[in-house]
């Protein structure tokens, strides 16, 4: 019988206060191994504090946190030894070449100088930056610096990769390259904890997402599942000669516009509104080939979750 792998990250009622501020407030998370996990939220949602908790840099005020089989914060060092991180700042030293910085990072993971040098060359080569290894960060573009930071995170072949808004400031091509590299890693079994406030990116990229705001979890699930929770504001209908037939009807229970002779877009109020419209058209003998709710994006779901999260007492 196959034994289910334990979660890479599991936290229960995780809480971290800074004085009166509740940066992380009763967060429950379960991240299975080998997935790209999106941790989404606006600025100040508690993403960076959560990362500090995951790395054992801060102890939780309350709750339980277990990462890669180690309870935190006691097992912080063991977790950091198996974790690669790309934080908000690339972390390259101004006075050192990228090679020296990466060799230092490899040494910090216990590699000897020769092994570290070989590993740096190999990983940076995979990132396509082998010819820039002897440059200092000031001589690298933002995208190159970010890729160097990713290379550093991969030096110790981590089981967990924590990426804190890694595509911030990258152009579209560099961001796509970085996402592809991360996807390859996840395919190889690495768990990726990916924070971002770019919802479209998370929608395309993550296997599982959690939406947080003011330190609280507002929703968790696969992006497709969360999308389906978004309210339906419009529906696209297709049918033979549909626009002309609707024009002849009285009392269509929705405002509508013709997109093409056979395609109509109607404004509705939620799923119930779609059902009422379809029922009314069926009763009038209007045939439909296709009914497709519009606007169910992760962004719409996010905004709906946020709207439902009324401000609590001042914290």
């Amino acid at each position: 019988m196959a034994v289910a792998e334990p979660p890479a990250i599991q936290c229960t009622a995780l809480t971290r206060h800074f004085g009166a501020l509740r940066a992380v407030d009763g967060v429950d998370l379960t991240v299975p191994p080998g997935v790209v996990f999106g941790f989404l939220g606006p600025n100040g949602a508690g993403k960076t504090t959560t990362i500090r908790l995951l790395l054992g840099l801060l102890p939780p005020t309350a709750g339980h946190l277990r990462v890669l089989g180690h309870d935190l914060p006691a097992g912080g060092r063991a977790v950091r030894a198996r974790t690669g991180t790309v934080l908000e700042h690339h972390g390259l030293y101004e006075g050192l070449s990228a090679r020296r910085t990466l060799e230092f990072a490899a040494g910090a993971h216990g590699l000897g100088p020769r092994t570290a040098a070989a590993r740096v060359t190999e990983v940076v080569g995979r990132m396509g930056l082998a010819d820039r290894l002897d440059d200092r960060p000031q001589a690298l573009s933002r995208g190159m610096r970010q890729r160097m930071a990713v290379a550093r995170a991969l030096l110790a072949a981590p089981d967990l990769l924590i990426l804190d808004e890694p595509t911030n400031g990258l152009d579209a091509e560099a961001a796509a390259g970085l996402r592809a590299a991360v996807r390859d890693l996840a395919a190889g079994g690495t768990t990726v904890f990916y924070t971002t406030h770019i919802l479209g990116e998370a929608e395309r990229f993550c296997d599982l997402v959690t939406v947080v705001r003011r330190g609280r979890v507002l929703g968790t699930g696969a992006p497709a599942d969360l999308r389906r929770r978004a309210p339906v504001r419009a529906v696209r209908l297709e049918g033979p000669d549909l626009a002309a037939r609707l024009g002849l009807l009285d009392g269509v229970p929705a405002a509508w516009t013709a997109v093409a002779p056979e395609v109509v877009r109607a404004d509705v109020d939620g799923v119930d509104g779609v059902a009422r419209l379809v029922a009314a058209l069926a009763a009038a003998g209007v045939a439909l080939h296709r009914v497709e709710p519009e606007g169910q994006t992760l962004e719409a779901a996010f905004l709906d979750l946020v709207a439902g999260d009324a401000p609590g007492p001042a914290t």
């Binding site: 801060l58 950091r80 198996r82 934080l87 030293y93 050192l96 000897g112 981590p158």
Partner: protein, 317 residues
């Protein structure tokens, strides 16, 4: 491959001293690729980053300081041959302090501290490495001053350009070589202690400026003056006493010389007090450089204070 796998080749590297039955006779076997001790790794990174950022400025500054304080002033005021020795200690103090106050606060400002804390290096290895780097840099600057001064003065004397160019006695030279290490270590330790909890280097520089000035004045000017090392004729001055008059510092030393036990006890007491202070400072620095304490800087002062109190006797990660 996991991180532990990645490190495994090092851990499993054969001992160089052990015989290798599989190696043909006469084959050169490469030395095992042992990891560098963590504190040395950090110290190397600190020095490399520092030198990469500041370039050759330390050497040119040392030459300028030697020229003014090592040669010109002693030449102008005869009898101050040992004066440059105190500047050697001074040049160990300042660079060590400047590097030390940058250790955490500078990294925090440049954004690299979080990445360092996210590494598996222990809190202690990071702190020790930073203190070691600042000490080494201070000592190197102090000794560089001595070396350039001795070489310049020797050259001036040998060529007859300045036959009275100041050279120290061997005893003073040895004392300063040792003093540079002690001064640099103390400055490094105190600088790292301050740096750990400061939001920026500027905040440290602007705090306690007057106190620092007084300490520097006493250590580097008043003490040498009392000992007669700053007076033109090399004799200690009379110390003013309340109610008028004065007592010669030389007379004081002579008086103490007839009571060697008291002098030895005073010296031992001073040494113990100094060691005690360093011990307290080292422990306080290690507490301040714990990851939790570092991560809290700039977030919530009340929380940081509570955390420091709690960690005073608690375990370290």
């Amino acid at each position: 491959m996991t991180a532990s796998d990645a490190a495994a080749p090092d851990a499993a590297a054969p001992d160089a001293a052990a015989p290798d039955a599989t190696a043909p006779a006469g084959t050169d076997r490469p030395a095992p690729d042992r990891p560098v001790p963590a504190w040395r790794l950090v110290a190397g990174k600190e020095l490399g980053d520092l030198l990469g950022r500041i370039g050759r400025r330390p050497v040119t500054r040392t030459l300028a300081v030697v020229g003014v304080f090592g040669l010109l002033i002693p030449l102008r005021f005869s009898g101050t041959a040992n004066l440059p020795a105190f500047f050697a200690a001074f040049t160990a103090f300042l660079p060590a302090r400047l590097v030390a106050i940058d250790a955490y606060a500078g990294e925090r400002e440049r954004g690299t501290l979080e990445a360092l804390l996210a590494s598996p290096l222990s809190d202690r290895a990071i702190a020790v490495g930073k203190v070691a780097a600042a000490t080494a840099y201070g000592v190197a600057r102090g000794w560089l001053f001595l070396a350039v001064w001795l070489a310049s003065a020797g050259l001036l004397r040998a060529t007859g350009l300045a036959p009275r160019a100041p050279l120290p006695t061997p005893a003073v030279l040895v004392a300063v070589v040792v003093a540079a290490v002690v001064v640099a270590f103390g400055a490094a330790l105190f600088g790292v202690y301050q740096s750990a909890q400061a939001p920026s280097v500027r905040a440290i520089v602007e705090s306690g400026g007057l106190l620092r000035l007084v300490v520097i004045l006493v250590v580097f000017f008043v003490v040498p003056w009392v000992l007669g090392l700053l007076s033109p004729d090399g004799t200690a001055p009379a110390l003013p006493v309340p109610g008028g008059g004065g007592v010669s510092a030389d007379a004081l030393v002579d008086a103490l010389a007839v009571r060697p036990a008291a002098v030895a006890a005073a010296a031992a007491g001073a040494a113990l007090a100094g060691l005690g202070w360093l011990w307290w400072l080292a422990r306080a620095t290690l507490r301040r450089t714990g990851r939790e304490a570092l991560a809290l800087v700039g977030t919530d002062p009340d929380g940081a204070r509570r955390s420091r109190r709690r960690r005073a006797g608690g375990p370290r990660s």
